[in-house]
Structure formats: C-alpha cells, structure tokens
C-alpha cells in the first residue's frame, strides 16, 4: 500500500487575471499523494495553497486558468475531464473539507438534508437508507445523538461539531483523496485536536490520501508525512516532515519555523522579513520570490533560475543559499 501515488501533480502553473495584470499564483508545483499518507502544504496567505486545491477539483474561479502542467488522478488527467465527469469525481473520489464550517452549510436546510442530498447524488439509495448511513457515519465521528442531529439546523451546532459533520459527509462516500483546506483554522485548540485525531483515524481506517493545507505548523507536524512549503506560488522546499522541521534548508522555511510562538522568549532574527512587504506577484519576472525579504540573499540570487535541487534524498529545495 502507498507505493502507487493516487494523485500526481506535475509542473502545475495557474494564472489569475486581475484588473491590474496577470498574476501567476501557482508556479511549477509538483507533488504526489499516496494512499494512507498525508501530504502537508504550508505557506502564508496568498502563496497559492487554495488555488492549488481548487485546481485539483477543477473548480478554479473564472479568472484563474491552468496554463501549464497536469494533474493525474489514477493515471488520467483531471484537466481533460468533462464538467459532468468531474462532478461525479467530486465528493465521491476527491472529497473536500472546507475552510470555514460555519458557512459551508446552507443555513435554511437541516444537517440531515445536506447529508442525504450528498449521499443520494452519488449512490443509488433510498432516502431511508441514506438516513441510516448518515446516522452510522455521524456515530463514527463521535457525535452525540446522531438521529437528533440530522433534524437540526447548522446554526444550532458548534463549529467543531459542524466540522465533524462535514468530515462525516465526506467520508461516507469513501473517497480516495481528501483535500483538507485549513480544516482547523476556524476552531479552538480542543476542537482542533479532535479533528486531527479523526483525520488520522480516517487515513488509517480507509487508507485515504490526505492533502492537508494549513498555515499552522503545529497541525502539519502532528499529521503530515511529507511537507511542502509554498511561497509566492512556488514550492520552495519539500521534505519528509521530520527532516523539514529538524533541518530547514530554505531561508523562508527557517523564518517560518522561527516565527512560531515558543514557551520561552527567543530573540527573533527575522527583522528584515517583517520590515519588507510581501512580494508583488503581478507581472513578476522569474526571480526568487523571497529575494527582497531574504537575509541570505546576495548578487548571485538575482540570476538564479529557480531550479529545485535535491540536497538529500527526498529533500528538495529551491534556493542557492540553502545550508
């Protein structure tokens, strides 16, 4: 298990046209997700994480377009799917947990109707069977009184419960890939832990490959097997989770790890990173996106062709100065 990747992304490039010009929000992104493994995607806001996720579902907004690259799902390119084929894949094969559980449910419809609608979209079952399935899956998510829950409206539940309901809905269709786009950002710490435990249980129980997107390094460290750090649309560093946390090679990864809040007060060395505004990606030439904010940059960096380099086995870095 886990040898053959289920989903492979190759050299993905996404352009977004804005009134001010064209931005390449995702550049040259490649990764693969294997069954039962968790692939973590970290990066600051606007680094291209969500765009990457949406492209996996073929649900990019109208202004965004994949200009280069391929997304292989079970050896077929998703980008060539018809709208109808893609719809069938969504939910049943590639499921998603949305960022903000409180808004992901239609406020005028009960939990049960959401659940049953999704089940019956993909499975040829009756309403009664769907309801039984829903109850069973809600129970698996440790949700109390699943039968009553089905009759309740989204606003009657807490954010953590809604998130678990959402996971229950996505898992009931037994997808092979689960995209978790910041599943814990809207939740408090105790709920976060529960959600992470449940995600972990899912991949063990169902062998689901998970794409975990977050800007919370703690969440990534908990769950991910392999991590990619995104910055300015590029994957700047990709490595197994322990290697990345123990020996960050890219200067951005280093500042990112340093910026975490620790129990002891440390002297921060990231003054330059904070004082320089984030890079403007509109009409940017192919220079290192971290150039202006980097502590280690020198004159050689401006002519760097941004090639990914393998410094160790599985440890890829997109930097000249990596130590």
């Amino acid at each position: 298990m886990g040898q053959q990747p289920i989903l492979t992304v190759n050299n993905l490039n996404i352009d977004v046209s804005t009134p001010y010009g064209v931005t390449r929000t995702v550049r040259d992104v490649s990764f693969k997700i294997e069954a039962g493994k968790v692939f973590g995607l970290v990066g600051e806001s606007g680094s291209g994480k969500t765009m990457t996720c949406m492209s996996l579902l073929n649900l990019l907004p109208d202004e965004a377009k994949v200009v280069k690259g391929s997304i292989q799902f079970r050896n077929k390119d998703i980008l060539n799917y018809s709208e109808e084929d893609m719809r069938k894949v969504r939910g049943s094969e590639i499921a998603t947990i949305m960022q903000n559980p409180m808004t992901a449910f239609n406020p005028v419809r009960t939990i049960g109707r959401h659940f049953i609608e999704t089940l019956r979209t993909h499975l040829p079952i009756t309403k009664h069977q769907a309801r039984e399935m829903a109850v069973a899956y809600l129970e698996k998510m440790d949700l109390p009184y699943p039968k009553n829950l089905l009759k309740q409206y989204p606003f009657q539940l807490s954010g953590g419960m809604l998130q678990r309901v959402m996971i229950a809905i996505t898992m009931s269709l037994n997808p092979s890939i689960l995209i978790a786009d910041e599943p814990t950002t809207a939740l408090d710490a105790t709920n976060q832990l529960q959600i992470l435990k449940q995600l972990n249980w899912l991949r063990k129980e169902y062998d689901t490959g998970i794409l975990l997107v977050s800007h919370d390094l703690g969440v990534i460290a908990q769950l991910a097997d392999e991590v990619a750090v995104m910055y300015g649309g590029y994957i700047v560093e990709k490595a197994p989770v322990f290697k990345l946390f123990n020996r960050p090679m890219h200067p951005y990864t280093r500042v990112l790890l340093e910026s975490r809040i620790g129990l002891t007060r440390r002297k921060t060395k990231i003054v330059k990173h904070i004082s320089v505004p984030p890079p403007n990606l509109i009409n940017r030439e192919n220079t290192c996106p971290f150039l202006e904010r980097c502590e280690d940059a020198d004159h050689t960096c401006s002519s760097y062709n941004l090639e990914l380099k393998e410094y160790e086995k599985d440890h890829l870095v997109r930097c000249l100065k990596s130590r």
Binding site: L59, K88, G91, A95, T96, M98, R109, R113, M166, T170
Partner: protein, 275 residues
C-alpha cells in the same frame, strides 16, 4: 418562522392592508354572489341616478349599477395583475437565475439585452407593443409581461450573484452536487423570500398600469367592467356626476395602497434589509 409570524401580527398597517386585500380577493372571487345587480344590464331610464336601495352607489350614464361594476371590476383588475405578475415571474425567475448562475458571456449578453429594453420607458414600450398587437385584455397582458420581465430578471440575477458566492454553494459543488439541484435546493430558497416581497411591492404598480391602459382604451373592451375604463366612461359626465369617477378612483387608490403597505410590512417582517 415564529418570529416572522409575530412580527406580521404586531404590525398594524400589515393587519389593515391584509384585511383589505382579503376583502378584495373575496370580491374578485365571488362577484355573482356579492354584486346586487347585473353589471352589464343597460337601463337608460335609470341613468345617472344617486344612491338608492336598489343601486347603493347609483348608476352610470347607461343606467348600470356602479357598485356591481366595481365588484366585477375587481376581478378584472386583480386577476389581470396577478396573471401579469405570475407570467412575468415564470419568465424572469428561470432566466434571471440562469444568467446569474451561469455567468460569463451568457450573462453579458443577457445584461446588454436588459440595458436596451430598459432604455425605453416601460409604459411607452407596452403601448407600442399593444399598438402592434391590437387592443384587448390578452394582448395587454402579453405586452406587459414582455416589457416587465426584464426588470425582475435583472433584480433576480443580482440576488443570485450574491448567493452564488456563498460558501455553502461552493461546498455543494465540492460534494459533486449537480447544478440543477444546487439551483433548486440552495439558490431558489435563498432568494424566494426577497422575490415574494418584490412581487407584493410592485403588484400595486401593475394594477395601476392596467387601469391606465384601460383608461386609454387598450385593455378590456366594453361592456366588460374595469376601473380604469369606468373612469374613462365617466369623463363626459364629470361635472354632473363626479361620484362616477370618484368610486373607481377610490378603488384603485385603496388596492394600490394596500398592496404597497403589505409589501413593505412583509419586507420588514422578513427583515431583508439586514441580509
């Protein structure tokens, strides 16, 4: 829902206007039982009489009972107004939702078409259409629907645009829900209350427009009873019998005001401004 009900009941204007609408609806539904006389019975010997026990509101220049004509006129006016609104909605709801949800060039084309049609005053455009089609109630309805749907479709499109961007629509898409299901089960329920308010706010205007067309002689043809036409008929006798013009005018006023108040109260009760 409980909240909405309570708000509606506590609203005084709402109670009054809905009572009026209820009475008007009764008048429109059962004129044969409520009207004291045959509205089309011409009796020149009784022409232009004041009120009496036989003719509570008097008679017109052909000796027809005014009260009976008013009651039968309710059926024409309200019935036509609701028919126009219903048909308009049947066109503008699907088209508005389609344009808003689909977006892209379909939406662009649709919007430009709306712009062109809305560049003309709607009354003028309806008049031109009736001029082409010829006078008559059927043609009047057709002309009004053809002119009015643009406005509503445009508003509905706007509502859909704001709902479409909601996170739960994206969530439904992500779950692989078919588009038609998203439209019927997620988008329609989200906009329908606003559409209902819109309909009730505007139906008074439609009543007014129908009366204006009848006044001009384009609507229902004689001897059928209609308020606007009754005003037109009584023009020559205005000096001798002003009540002839007053009664249908009052009816139009009451109905239009009642519907406007009703629509406003409905809007307050559903609290649409907060959304």
């Amino acid at each position: 829902m409980k909240n909405v009900k309570r708000k509606l009941l506590s609203h005084k204007l709402m109670m009054i206007s809905s009572m009026i609408i209820f009475i008007m609806t009764l008048l429109a539904l059962f004129p044969p039982f409520l009207a004291p006389n045959d509205p089309n019975l011409i009796d020149i010997t009784h022409k232009l009489q004041g009120s009496s026990s036989k003719f509570p509101l008097g008679t017109d220049h052909l000796g027809r009972c005014i009260l009976s004509r008013l009651i039968y006129g309710t059926r024409t006016s309200l019935g036509t107004a609701f028919l126009v609104m219903g048909l308009t909605m049947m066109i503008s709801i699907p088209l508005g939702i389609y344009a808003g949800f689909r977006g892209g060039w379909v939406d662009y084309l649709f919007m430009r078409m709306c712009d062109i049609l809305m560049a003309f005053p709607s009354l003028l455009l309806s008049l031109a259409l009736i001029g082409i089609l010829g006078p008559g109630l059927g043609n009047l309805i057709l002309a009004m629907v053809l002119v009015h749907w643009v406005f509503y479709a445009r508003v509905i499109r706007g509502m859909v645009l704001s709902v479409k961007e909601q996170n739960f629509i994206l969530a439904a898409k992500v779950c692989g829900t078919p588009r038609l299901v998203i439209v019927i089960k997620h988008i329609l329920p989200a906009i329908i209350s606003q559409v209902v308010v819109l309909v009730f706010m505007d139906i008074g205007g439609v009543v007014l427009a129908i009366s204006s067309f009848s006044f001009l002689g384009f609507g229902i043809q004689p001897p059928g009873a209609e308020w606007g036409m009754m005003i037109n008929d009584s023009k020559p006798f205005f000096r001798n019998a002003p009540s002839l013009m007053l009664y249908p005018g009052m009816m139009i006023l009451i109905v239009v005001v009642a519907f406007n108040l009703f629509g406003e109260a409905l809007r307050d009760a559903l609290d649409l401004r907060r959304e």
